[in-house]
Symmetry: C2
Subunit: 157 residues, 2 copies
Amino acid sequence: MNIGEAAKASGVTAKMIRYYESTGLIPTAGRTGSGYRVYSDTEVQMLRFIRRSRDLGFPVEKIEELLALWRDRSRQSADVKRLALDQIDGLQRKISEMQSMMASLQELADACCGDHRPDCPILADLGRGATQRNEQARGQFNGLSSLRTASQEPNSR
Amino acid sequence: MNIGEAAKASGVTAKMIRYYESTGLIPTAGRTGSGYRVYSDTEVQMLRFIRRSRDLGFPVEKIEELLALWRDRSRQSADVKRLALDQIDGLQRKISEMQSMMASLQELADACCGDHRPDCPILADLGRGATQRNEQARGQFNGLSSLRTASQEPNSR
DNA sequence: CCTTGACCTTACCATCATGGGAAGCCTTAT
DNA sequence: ATAAGGCTTCCCATGATGGTAAGGTCAAGG
């Protein structure tokens, strides 16, 4: 199988297969005499593993650990489960942040009549700018404001 | 006010202020004789506007539109509201994707006993690799798989 | 046997918003 | 005068992905 066939069979683009190889996530593929990469079913299976892991939102760094556990026949399932639970936590954290953004936006949008007139509570809020509007939330440390979220979209695939 | 003071007053780092200037999001700041950037209260207010917009997850591209509307005294609040609702939609879309990842992960984690033994339904699932497990969901087109989500974290601030 | 088109190779650039660092100038306080 | 700390510009890195360009290869059909 050449890289294009492996890509089709695994759902990982040829581009990404080369990238994963270059970063050491997957071992260097064999080559034909003329330099084409060659893939066996085993390698395609590994690519599918990666693809599925990405679909579950695992960063490549974690996938490296998952692959190591996958290969290690004396692994402890607890180690795998911990990675999964960590991933769930991370997702939940980001979801919560986005939900709080959404709630603020919804509140503002509800207050905006959205007609031809220029008066707009949304702009008024943004213009006020500070961080401690939402006065009923005072004293409640919300921690971790990482997420910037909006425009990170690799695009289709 | 020099850039450091403007940064403290607005919650936008000096680094980002320079970046926003370089990309044209904000106008070029005035300079002292020796080349230091100078900021007025008006400009700090604009920076706070930007900061607040980022906190609501707007991408810089959209903030450009928001700023234009902010400055336009003959704007129509409907235009602002549309931006807000679009942003809500985007957030909801991403939240849904992450929730579906979470649900899959939770199901797998629940099935994993997480002890010292090597048998692990999580790895088994990843290893199976395909896309159409979850057989009760057949036929239900889920659309838009953009989100890769996991490790995009600018970090604190 | 040769052409054509579809594929492969590498190498480089872009994304998006952000941080890090270096090298050098300026300002302020001791 | 000197030291500390802030400012300037410039370059690089992030993460995962796509795009493009220049050139080699393979298979099918003339």
